[in-house]
Amino acid sequence: MIRNVLILLVSIVVYLNFGITNFLFILFSILTTYIAAKFLEKRSKKIILTIAIEINAFILIFFKLYGANLFPSLEENWNLVAPMGVSYYTLQVISYLVDVYKGKYKAENNFFYYCLYIFYIPHLFIGPISRYEDMKKQFLTPTKISFTNLYNGALRFAWGLLKKLVIAGRASIVIATITQGGEIYQGAYALLAMLLYSIQLYTDFSGGIDMVMGVSKMLGIELQENFDSPYYAQTIKEFWRRWHISLSSWLRDYIYIPLGGSRCSKIRKVVNTLITFLVSGFWHGANYLLWGILHGIFVLLGDTLKTKWKWLNRGITFVLVSFLWSFFIWSNTGEAVRMMGSVFTTWNIVDLGNNILNLGLTFADWVVLLVFTLVLFVFDGNKSKIIQKVKKWSPEVKTIILCSILLCIFILGIYGIGFQVDDFIYSKF
């Protein structure tokens, strides 16, 4: 109990640090959904559910549209900033309401636990998007702070930090050089930016999630895994089972299945899939609708593009996903499409080869980037085996690994004066 009180207090203090307006928004979401759930429990009326969801979804939708510069007149007069974590906690409160409405579990009587669920600061900014029943179990399980948890948590945290600072940090330098370099960086440069962005986004996001998991582990709280070696997927459909799992499963449970899922006509299934991916795109930002639709189309294509060679499938999927990340790299949709096209029209691979050391990284930096990406790739390919082994490691081995990771971060991390340590990419969605 003391642990939970402390977590809530620290979470509120940290959140308050982002300003009282942010705090009022999140409090509004908590109060409206907490009260609505209580009503839903007594009278299971769809109108209450609809109103509560709509109010909260409206805030999220408004800020997504506002973020895409769709309200220029508003922008002139108001300096609005989306509340921190609104994309995450809105999905959480909606899942809670729907679950209570469907009778999956009872509405929470204890306001403290509900606040703790939403405010739980480690997962508030980049997820994973947790479900209430899972979190409540975690909060209720009496946990002593144990050395095993501390060690494992610290290891996970350090591994995440390494991914963020050593790999993502380096990749971001090259991508920034290419995207800010103007017309000369097309063709092979654009392709390099896409492939590197795949690595950056994955290491940035999964690194952040590792850190969240690590802190939670230290506190004795187990969160849902958000990644399952996504770049080992052989199709885009499989990719979405492995990438941002908490969002994918949320979309499945609260959008796709309520729309009818796959137990319906073929046309309806196509529509349901496209709507789900449209929502997914919109959740990332109103600029990413096309990205969502394209993913939806590739999901519908399913195994059509699949060959009998699994490594070729993985390669094709990786390249496809990388191409589609273009919408994230070049936030202007037209520019993203032009850059994708330039890969096929501008043949400048030799120029890229000659210029590779002028993209912001030294030779040693490229070696570090490639070596650590390779380490990550091998790790991802043998994840379950490695995790099992880690669990069996003696404290001595764990200490050596932890200290080595920390030393790598201190020396090879991209941070400090002269470097821009970006916020986690997914904290901006």
Partner: protein, 333 residues
Amino acid sequence: MKTKLRVITIVIIFLLLFIFFNRLLQPKYMDTLVEGSMISQYYHEPKDHEVVFIGDCEVYANFSPMVMYEKEGIKAYVRGSSQQLIWQSYQILKETLHYEIPKIVVFNVNSMRYDKNSKEVSEAYNRLTIDNMKWSQEKIDIIQDSMTEDETFLSYVFPILRYHSRYDELTAEDFEYLWKRKDNTYNGFLINKNIKGVTSLPIQRRLAEYQFSEECYQYLDKITNLCRENNIQLVLIKAPSLYPYWYDEYDEQIRNYANEHDVDYYNLKNYVDEIGIDYSVDTYDGGLHLNLTGATKLSEFFANLLKKNYDLTDYKGDEIYEEKLKEYKETIQ
């Protein structure tokens, strides 16, 4: 118990490795950018100086204590550093007083023109002054007084946080001077034999504001008071550089301050002919700093000036200084 012991041992080994990398990655300032090593060379000097200089490059490039010793038997030390700002000079003086109480402190007032909002305040220069200072209250204060917006105190405690990206820039110098250091100066004087005479100077533009900031005056007051409390004669000087321009308005303010606070002020630009400085040969960078010949002329003149006006001991014949002088002469030949 055995496990705990082993874990502790591993942690200690990694802490040692951490310390090792802190040292390895920090610039050594031995063969390149030697200005960064000057502040620390003072620590292994005998602390019996009667004259201590504080200030920016205009002191370490222009005043040679060895010449002052040879000429008048004065034991002097220059605690100068690149772009040493007045709040840094104050802390360096405070630190110096923990080691010795000189008879005279000479402060070059050039830094009065820069307050904490000046664009001249930069992390790179801060590092040259602060990185190699020994840990003391003064070092803590100087860091806090000097830090720019991007800097963190922790990066001064653990230099790896600042210099980690040097991992692919390490040179033989970093390994050679990992644990030992060599002296690059003679009592704080940095020898430069190059000649780059004055050919032209930038246009002397009128400034919108000549008034020294309140902040700089406060630090000058602190320096004055510190000297007074320790019975030290404070001598304000302006070294005879041609650029950046030392405006008459600046000069007047320092003159007034000196009169009001009963300290001496010498604008050495006014003695250029008497000193015999020839800016076509006595400077290594077109008039900003004097070279060896210029510094020798100025040091002889200034040693004479100090000897005439203040009660200083003639240490000629001192064993250590004679040895140093011999070495100095070999170096400058």
